[in-house]
Amino acid sequence: MVGALRRLRQEGESYQGVWSWLTTVDHKRIGIMYGVTAFLFFLMGGIEALLLRIQLSSPNNAVLDPDQYNRIFTMHGTTMIFLVVMPLSAAFFNLLIPLMIGARDVAFPRLNAFSFWVFLGGGLFMNASFFTGGNILKGELGAPDAGWFGYAPLSLQSAGTGIDFWAFGLLILGVASMASGFNFIVTIFNMRAPGMTLLRMPLFVWMTLVTSFLIIFAMPIITVALFQLLFDRLYGANFFNFEAGGQPLLWQHMFWLFGHPEVYILILPAMGIVSEVLPTFSRKPLFGYPFVVISGLAIAFMSWGVWAHHMYTTGLGPIANSAFGVSTILIAVPTGIKIFNWLATLWGGAISLKTPLFFAVGFISMFVIGGLTGVIHSIVPSDYQQQDTYFVVAHLHQVLLGGAMFGLFAGIYYWFPKFTGRLLHEGWGQLHFWLMFIGFNITFQPMMILGLLGMPRRIYSYPEGAGWEWWNAVATVGALLIGVSILVFMFNVVLSLRRNDQAGPDPWDGRTLEWAIPSPPPAYNFREIPTVRARDDFWHQKYEEDETGRPVPIVGGGAQEPEEEEHAEGEGHGIHMPSPSFFPLIAAIGLPIIATGLIYDAAIVAVGVAVLVVGIYGWALEPASE
């Protein structure tokens, strides 16, 4: 076997084309794969959303039956959170962290590849559940049906294998997230270029660090909860079994103890992106940098003490409810600090009105509404009225789509030229923004009204005459508009790649290190590891300030890595980069096989374990290059 492993390894080093992607350990390629995969899942989740909206567009509609509706709304939420926002954020971690801190790669390149393959496997595994319900062409869907929050005992009583796929899928995805969490913490702590002190790190690096810590501490909790659920479902354990004395409410505590830190795992990377975009397009440093950093840390700490605000109506009692109400209101303080710092960054800046800035400002405005609705939720008596209504749906989309996704799109428009060498077309980009922004507001502001009118969430239909018809119809129109905006975005990407509008290394007059190197960056990123002398180091290489504090270009500044030279023959050959490897992929394939076996047949488990073991031993015995 050792011989076979060795052969695999030697082949790995000479792979090209598809194989070079399957064996790559280059953080940039992994980042691109994360981004593209997450976008495909975004389309999937988006189609699910449109189906839900079409079903709800009029009362007593029958496009989906109740069973299909439950499965699709469960997969929609699970997909958008675990297969879209988290991996899109991971795409940016991968693409940017080594570049921003002046490193050649992450601390563990193969572990990084492993994260991606595990994520891909987990996502496919989860979606495979659609096929387990019978004939999918006849509309007999498998798939989980207990919501993205999987409340027990509903998730225990759910028949079929949907919930098992859901729980194992989330466990697999958790492995991917934790592996990348560890990797990025080590990378950020250990691999910074000389002079890149913690307080000189770009804000996106800070937010990645904080998010990674949240991931490695929150994921184990949901891991245990999911195992408990699976033990109950598959092996007759009693964790949530009321007759045996178990408490179904334990699930909610565990889920939200994970879940609230999770919402900050979803939003902090987008906040990091916005904190990079705003200074560049206002040509001013981020206002109050240390406050923004500290608020990020404060949010992360406080996010552990607010989980029961999801459970006010479960009868925890007035003292617990008040305590969690207060902690929830307090967490809005550091959030507000960030918002004021962003506004102050724009204030008096030399604004350059480009698509990334549109999305960043869109983020701020929508996130403010989202945060304020959150504060309304946090007030216990008020939440008694809102819990389980469309008001909560409006809130969570306001922060997740209006917040996280707008921030992520700002990042896509901002860094697309860095990694493809081409600018995205401005006109189509702004059309994308306006369609999405208007569509978003037409979809979700009506949901606030619907919620206040008492329309419950998680229902597949509603009767005539409740006064909900008009706003539901409006919301569906808005959703279709968002769909159109995504088509515009896809068209823009294809068009821009064809158009060949060369971006050059620094199209936006950027501030951070990634703009100092060619676009797309060479495999080794930096020919020479840079020495950092200031926050926004690259900016300070290009500009100095005159007496009035206005930036004045330095002649010949910031040109230390001109693009032409990179194309010179033999350039960069002296730099030793980690060699490609097959084994992360092999190890990753083992996990969904094991999960399949645990649902269906123990013999398959043995196969999965064998694959995993081959992957791990091959990996460990490979001459280490990390």
Binding site: R104, D105, A107, F108, M178, G181, F182, N183, I185, V186, F189, N190, M191, R192, I216, F217, M219, P220, I221, T223, V224, A225, F227, Q228, F231, Y235, G236, A237, N238, F239, E243, A244, G245, G246, Q247, L250, M254, H576, M577, P578, Y617, A620, P623, A624, S625, E626
Partner: protein
């Protein structure tokens, strides 16, 4: 990148792999914390027997806890051996650690079968559920640890673990000690302190 001594250049001064291990163990604390929390939450809530006081054999489990504790000592000796270049010592102490780990696992297997004979199972009651899942997770960690130790032993035998690679032993040691400490916590909270 590969042939540079990473530890000398890192931001924290810790080797990348060591920092990774520390972070992993920190995250494991929450895993075991949640499992132990669930056990404590459900302590005394079982509606039918068998109950802990019917089953626990404190002297027996004390011995197996002692075995695991001793394995931490041999683990320390293995590290000391490789650090002074004593290959024979390394092999002896690695083997002893693995064997002590296996002994602990057989004790656990014996205990599980005993309890099972007396009617305790994953589904019998809350005690069975929480006990087997908690100690089972711990046992799985010990099993992984034994596999790591045995793999290192094979490498040492083939002369592929030189003095300069003592970090491998150090990392395995960190993991092993952690698993050990977790058992001490479990033993104290679950076996010794009975309300």
């Amino acid at each position: 990148m590969s042939h540079t001594p990473a530890a000398l250049e890192t931001g924290t001064g810790l080797d990348n792999r060591k920092l990774l291990m520390w972070l992993f163990l920190a995250s494991e604390c929450l895993l075991f914390g949640s499992l132990i929390g669930a056990y404590l939450l459900y302590r005394g809530q079982s509606v039918v027997g068998p109950y802990p006081e019917d089953l626990f054999d404190i002297p027996f489990t004390s011995v197996s806890a002692f075995v695991l504790l001793m394995s931490s000592v041999t683990m320390v000796l293995a590290l000391a051996a490789i650090q002074r270049g004593d290959q024979r010592g390394l092999r002896i102490w690695l083997l002893s650690t693995a064997l002590l780990g296996l002994l602990f696992l057989s004790g656990q297997a014996f205990e599980f079968t005993e309890f099972n004979h007396e009617g305790l199972s994953l589904s019998s009651n809350l005690f069975g559920t929480t006990f087997f899942v908690l100690t089972g997770f711990h046992g799985a960690h010990v099993t992984v640890g034994v596999l790591i130790l045995l793999s290192l032993l094979v490498m040492a035998w083939r002369g592929r673990l030189t003095q300069s690679q003592s970090l491998n032993i150090e990392l395995a040691g960190l993991y092993w000690h952690f698993v050990d400490v977790v058992w001490i916590v479990i033993f104290t909270l679950i076996y010794l302190i009975q309300p």
